[in-house]
């Protein structure tokens, strides 16, 4: 059992961030941990920012992760990774989907669009554990384009197998997605889990 494990997940409303959190947190409950999930939603269904904080461990937990407190940052949209930068430290692992939903502000010419390499550079000054993957592409390969979140969950599981046993996480995926899409979601999880370094965008 580990003392404390903190995951920040971010992206845009509609990307399945809350499902990601629920699955990870449910798996941690099964593993006997105390768990706390805090979410920052605002008015996310309407194109806004979503940030979710999943904390598990032993003892009392508050629902928010402190600055520099993330063991892992998972970003379903590479631009959104920038907004949670303050939670990272040199011990953090950063997992980034290589795609973005361009903010409307950029499309109407109000603000510059950071590139993926800008984002990698920002994090690169803090940690060398940065993984960029085409999770959208793998989700399409799994037959379910909306399963980007599950691909990233599979990859997270691969990196932290000692804390998150793959069989337990995989079962929890199956229990928390609509029954008619279980097969595709499991495939998405496995595609994320089996990503090797040649698939990574670094």
């Amino acid at each position: 059992m580990i003392n404390e494990f903190n995951v920040v997940v971010c992206g845009v409303g509609g990307q399945g961030i809350l499902t990601f959190s629920r699955i990870l947190a449910s798996a941690a409950v099964k593993l006997g941990y105390n768990v706390r999930v805090g979410e920052t939603l605002g008015m996310s269904q309407r194109g806004g920012i979503v940030q979710s904080f999943i904390r598990f461990g032993l003892g009392v937990l508050s629902p928010l992760i402190p600055v520099g407190g993330a063991d892992v940052v998972v970003s379903l949209d590479y631009i959104e990774a920038l907004r949670v930068f303050k939670y990272a430290s040199r011990d953090s692992t950063i997992i980034i989907n290589s795609n973005t939903i361009p903010p409307v502000s950029v499309l109407i010419g109000d603000g510059r669009m950071p590139s993926l390499s800008d984002v990698v550079k920002v994090y690169g000054e803090v940690t060398n554990k940065i993984y960029v993957l085409d999770a959208d592409g793998l989700a399409i390969k799994a037959g379910l384009p909306t399963a980007t979140n599950i691909v990233l969950l599979g990859f997270l599981c691969k990196l932290f197998q000692e804390i998150l046993p793959p069989n337990i996480l995989r079962d929890t995926v199956a229990e928390n997605v609509p029954s008619r899409y279980v097969r595709e979601n499991i495939l998405a999880f496995d595609l994320g889990f089996n990503v090797n370094k040649f698939d990574l965008g670094l």
């Binding site: 629920r22 947190a25 605002g42 309407r46 003892g59 402190p66 600055v67 430290s89 409307v104 603000g111």
Partner: protein, 646 residues
């Protein structure tokens, strides 16, 4: 530990006793009420309270209690309160500002008291994630002589709700359960207990000397209330949710609600766990005097940690003064008064109090040195409100009306505050638009438009509409009727035609109400029919100008998000629209004036429609002056059908 979740259709509140279930704070509050033998629940939706009644409604049939979405918080309060007087355990839930709407009933309920346990859940929103203010409703407890209990986590919330029901019934007195965003909208494991047999109907035993607040009765009840309050003040000292951790220190930290979780994290990070005495309080109003004085007694210095107002802090200071306790007491001098607490904010005050350094990551948090583009919330693509706003502005222009004040209201359409619409010049509170429009109509010479949603119309606009008719206030009232309470996630209202538990009922029509209260010009428009909508709006504007009184236009189209999710469930194809680049002249009307997120300009300023975001509303096609936008396929009959949701 029992594992849950093998069946993805089982509602989380239906797991058997002994299960450990990952619950949202609001679901935990609901589960606590069920385990307390809840028989009746009524609420009006509002972030962050909505999921309490929503989850109760999901399982109402299974457990056999009564649930309703009431028309507003006042009616919800009165209904649940009356159920308690019949001997039925009852709950009402609302967001913090909702309690303002119910405040009149709240004050009286303390005089009369209750029969069966009655719980008022006030879900508050420090930091205003989705609210117009961050008022602290613990003041209502002090104001009304009603106890206020608060939890720090979902698991404590469930247990505290049960305790609160028993407390309420023991003292025959209402209890406020205060939650905040970080309890209501955070999840954690909750262990389920047995659900007792419940009572959903009882009997009202007449006793006017108690239940009818005429002055002669109220004066006597006021005396009783103060007596009762004294015994409540004594009883809270015995609450098992107030916990004293004596670490043999001369320092004491007193905390309540969410403060406890953040404090424990801060002490861990600062490496001073076990180096300070802690008094954790869940019965903040009234503050447990004996516990506080005992804890203060052995200490030289104390710190009070609470979110928002210094309510506990003032009580602690008063007690220390009254009893001559020699202890230096800190509170909001070290803990932020504004916004919600978190570890980052709390750690500075706690470190100072504990006389230890703040770790460097908190002093110099990482800063991203490139500019991050904003993502302000916008109306969804295909939202009928967007079309209504465009039509309203075009109709005003066509009528030659230039100097317009838009009195706005609370709902999705509040997003019309921004460019390009700017149709929310004033926004006070739920139902406030038409009331302020009434004042504006008489106190200015500008043209007044009051804009409100359908749920808001039923909630608090009808008396103001009557007022405007009666006082002949020239204004255009525009109702954006998307058939549902959309902002909070699609709860039904009296115009939706179904109840909280899905039973079909007759609609109460907005147009019937308007005609019934004497509005002489009542029009219904379909915002997806642009030309007809503008014609009718022009007609209504003309009526206001000529007759110097009220006209009402109901813009009726179901919420696109709700329709699209129905279409997907039923396998109905959604028609997409495309831009013919040969015909597009890059005028920008579609992306500048309609500003649908699905439509974006390309480098040559011609329009492009994202087929994933387009929900086939067809409005862009209708407003394109060059006929450059066309559907990818002819919309099917099923597609037309799916819009007629109710």
């Amino acid at each position: 530990m029992t594992f849950i979740g093998e069946f993805d259709l089982v509602h989380p509140l239906l797991y058997p006793p002994g299960s450990v279930v990952l619950l949202l704070g609001n679901e935990a509050i609901a589960r606590g009420a069920i385990e307390a033998g809840l028989g009746f629940a009524a609420a009006y939706p509002g972030t962050p309270s909505t999921e309490i009644l929503e989850s109760l409604a999901d399982v109402a049939e299974h457990y056999g209690f009564y649930v309703e979405w009431s028309v507003n918080e006042k009616v919800a309060f009165e209904s649940a309160y009356a159920a308690s007087l019949c001997g039925v355990r009852s709950l009402t839930a609302m967001k913090h500002v909702g309690l303002n709407v119910a405040a009149d009933a709240l004050m009286s309920s303390a005089y009369i008291g209750v029969e069966a346990g009655f719980l008022i859940v006030s879900a508050e929103d420090p930091d205003m994630w989705s609210s117009q203010n961050e008022q602290d409703n613990r003041y209502y407890g002090l104001h009304a002589y009603i106890p206020v209990f608060e939890a720090y986590s979902p698991w404590e919330a469930k247990e505290l709700v049960k305790y609160a029901f028993n407390f309420s019934e023991k003292f025959k007195h209402p209890v406020i359960f205060r939650s905040t965003t970080r309890v209501s909208h955070s999840s954690g494991p909750v262990k389920f207990d047995v659900v007792p047999s419940l009572k959903s109907t009882g009997r009202f035993v007449k006793d006017p000397s108690r239940f009818a607040l005429v002055p002669a009765h109220a004066r006597k009840l006021r005396v009783k209330l103060i007596e009762k309050w004294r015994s409540i003040c004594e009883e809270v000292n015995n609450s098992p949710f107030n916990k004293y951790i004596d670490n043999g220190s001369r320092r004491l930290i007193i905390c309540c609600g969410t403060g406890y979780g953040y404090l424990m994290d801060c002490l861990k990070i600062l490496g001073v766990e076990g180096k300070v005495n802690i008094l954790k309080i869940s019965t903040t109003v009234p503050a447990p005097r004996r516990l506080i004085l005992d804890a203060l007694g052995g200490c030289d210095v104390a710190l009070v940690i609470e979110e928002l107002e210094p309510i506990l802090e003032r009580d602690v200071k008063a007690m220390a003064f009254e009893e001559g306790v020699e202890c230096e007491i800190h509170g909001k001098d070290l803990i932020p008064l504004i916004g919600e607490l978190n570890i980052d904010k709390l750690i500075h005050g706690v470190a100072k109090f504990m006389d230890v350094p703040v770790p460097s990551n908190f002093l110099n948090p990482l800063k991203c040195n490139i500019e991050i583009p904003t993502r302000p919330p916008t109306l969804c693509s295909g939202c009928p409100h967007r079309a209504s706003f465009l039509e309203l502005k075009w109709a005003l222009a066509k009528s030659g009306v230039r100097d317009v004040i838009f009195a706005g209201d609370i709902g999705c359409y509040s997003l019309g505050v921004d460019e390009p619409f700017k149709v929310q010049d004033i926004m006070l509170e739920m139902g406030g638009g038409i009331g302020s429009a009434n004042g504006l109509a008489h106190a200015s010479n500008q043209f007044i438009v009051a804009i409100m949603g359908d749920s808001t119309f039923y909630h608090a606009c009808i008396p103001a509409l009557i007022n405007s008719v009666y006082n002949k206030s020239p204004m255009l009232v525009m109702v954006l009727d998307n058939r549902i309470t959309a902002m909070t996630g699609h709860q039904p209202h009296p115009g939706s035609g179904f109840t909280a538990t899905g039973a079909r009922v007759d609609e109460v029509k907005i147009e019937d109400i308007a005609r019934g209260v004497g509005v002489k010009c009542v029009e219904t428009i379909d915002p997806f029919n642009v030309k007809d909508s503008i014609d009718k709006l022009v007609k209504a504007i003309k009526f206001v100008l000529e007759n110097r009184t009220v006209a009402l236009v109901n813009s009726r189209r179901a919420c696109t998000l709700m329709v699209v999710s129905n279409a997907r469930r039923r396998g109905v194809r959604i028609p997409r629209y495309l831009v013919d680049l040969e015909l597009c002249r890059a005028c920008g009307i579609c992306y500048n004036q309609l500003s649908c997120p699905a439509i974006t300009p390309m480098p040559d300023k011609k329009a492009s429609i994202d087929p994933i975001l387009c929900f086939g509303c067809s409005v862009c096609m209708q407003i394109c002056p060059f006929n450059a936008i066309k559907p990818s396929e002819t919309p099917s009959k099923d597609w037309e059908e799916v819009w007629r949701v109710n």
